[in-house]
Subunit: 192 residues, 2 copies
Amino acid sequence: MRDRKREQNRVKTVEVAWRLFMERGYDNVTVADICAAADIAPRTFHRYFAAKEDVVTDPIRRMAAIVTDHLASAPAGLAPAELISAAMREVGAFVADHREWLAALRHVARQSQHLRAAHAGVPPEQEAEIVRRLAALSGKDEDDWRVRVLVVNATGVFRVWYDDYLAGTLDDPLPRLDAMLATLTQGVPPVE
Amino acid sequence: MRDRKREQNRVKTVEVAWRLFMERGYDNVTVADICAAADIAPRTFHRYFAAKEDVVTDPIRRMAAIVTDHLASAPAGLAPAELISAAMREVGAFVADHREWLAALRHVARQSQHLRAAHAGVPPEQEAEIVRRLAALSGKDEDDWRVRVLVVNATGVFRVWYDDYLAGTLDDPLPRLDAMLATLTQGVPPVE
DNA sequence: TGCCTCGTGGCAGAGTCTGCCACTTTGAGA
DNA sequence: TCTCAAAGTGGCAGACTCTGCCACGAGGCA
């Protein structure tokens, strides 16, 4: 199988790159370094990944994919806020399952100015896709501002939780995520 | 005055770049093109702007600066949600004042994949600064998740409004922004 | 006037990413 | 089994962004 070998190589490349990034920092590792360590040609690297950055931001796209998948298989009749919250909880479970890996990733992403920005949000295309699906599920127009705000806020809230969780400052992560997601429909409780 | 000439050059560069981007699209304009049209050396361009991208994303940083400035001169004793909402309203006024310019910018930003992502959020450093100031004003810890969610959601909500406004699909923009900001404390109203 | 500072420009180089082409491997059909 | 088409791979050259370094020249100061 060609695809198998290809997939093997891709995974190997990600692992090698991750190791190098952890050792020297994202900015001090070149694509050539990764290629040498992973035993592939630079030209091939760029066939696997459109950009060096993609090696690191891949998990974000995976998390966004979890949301779209969740929405694809969601039963009809639920409130949009409930739908998106359930999806975010599923992503939360994913994060909990891959905690060490993602914590390492967070560590790497924080080292580079360039990466921080890329790591700080859902890629626009995927966000738009989530909005589309959520709107379709609730029988609403995809331009409805409430749907879009729900998505933007849900991902924003998640980002805050994600950062706290990986920083290790949370006692009861999942209940905390629930509490944070509740602000979608109830607003942020008064700070004092 | 040296500084005057420098500022003149910088402004001229931005204007020239903006014109070229509108004509040919961001990706089809090189730094060299801009330099030729603005009559400066490429080396000088990169002394003005750390990255080509910065020519375009400058307004975003300016908007974030409006928020931090607003918080700097805000009276004590207001609720955080009120503080950040007032700040966002001020940014809204800024956007209304520079509508055409920003609409052109939005047009340009949408052409390039790379730019869309950069254009899609507040730079992490400035977001962190806003959180710091808001937390300080409310006498809260800057790690308080409610403060951070307020900031993230406020900027997220604003992004949705901003996009609608510049797309020209809003009848009463400023009241609409108010309604959207109200979701910070009251949650997003049920979509149906 | 003479010095000194600072912005500028040119140059070379590192690094990312792409188009092109030739080579090799893989899988399918004769 | 042999052959051929398809697809992945690697090498090469090149465009482009961005940076360090140094020399030049034009303001500002004594």
